[in-house]
Symmetry: C2
Subunit: 183 residues, 2 copies
Amino acid sequence: MNKQDLMETTLSTEPIFDGRIFSVRKDVVALPDGQESTREVVHHKSGGACVVPLTADGMVYIVRQCRYPYADVLLEIPAGKLDPGEAPEQCAARELKEECGVTAGKLTSLGTLYPTPAYVDEVIHMFLAEELSPAVQHLDDGEFLEVEKLPLETLVEQVLSGEVKDSKTQAALLKTWILKGRK
Amino acid sequence: MNKQDLMETTLSTEPIFDGRIFSVRKDVVALPDGQESTREVVHHKSGGACVVPLTADGMVYIVRQCRYPYADVLLEIPAGKLDPGEAPEQCAARELKEECGVTAGKLTSLGTLYPTPAYVDEVIHMFLAEELSPAVQHLDDGEFLEVEKLPLETLVEQVLSGEVKDSKTQAALLKTWILKGRK
């Protein structure tokens, strides 16, 4: 089957909400067979970047923070939204410094992640950070988080056991584990 | 630091949108230090389940479908929304049958996934399906997708190279790869 045989095309669009982080719209689309349907879309305004900060002795900096939608504190790799005009690797380096007080001598792409592609268009850029040096942590106003350093192996076990739930953290840690295990 | 020292509490909530797949609200919250802030939340109405259908000879059933928010066709493991009152494993089995025309003799949990926890509350349940038997594919009305069978190893390479972008597909395939590699 050809890609064009699966594509949906926009017939009309209705703006619903224009927020700080995302906007919402409702589109009428033509399905591949010409039938009409509706699509509710969450447009993420900036996209984001995240980073696995890996030390020479196999430790990873990780943060605990409240994720309000789940009313819970989650374990995640450092991450944040792209500033206007900011390249993904700049964002990853900035968030690493701000949240963990660490700079990286080497930043390697781990690809991109589409968190929930049925209704959200966010793109998250994933990186591996190595050759780490201490810097000054600088949290944003209103940002509360706790930084820990745990062995990569322990974190991979926590992903496999289901304890780590955040999607970018699961994907980026497992990628790091497989890529590093190959060398 | 104690978990309670990181939590945010709801002061007020404003409904914004009530859609088919999700609703949107805007809450005023108290931060851990008592300051006020706002949180835009996308509430996913059902949650979902996804499944890695793995054959005895190491092949995985995978689907290609249009993901309208990205205006692209993505490669993903079979997945869908939970019906009202449906258990996650029932949903995974149903979607596997409907989308791929396959039933599973054995279903193992691969944990849950929070796709983008800063502003979405969706919970995706991940499973590994084995001991597969042919059944009758039955797509929903308006559902267009293409089913393929590819070696798990090839798909893992496509996750590592960045070609597979969907978060649940990345996490579930890498988990399967690591767990199966251990045996």
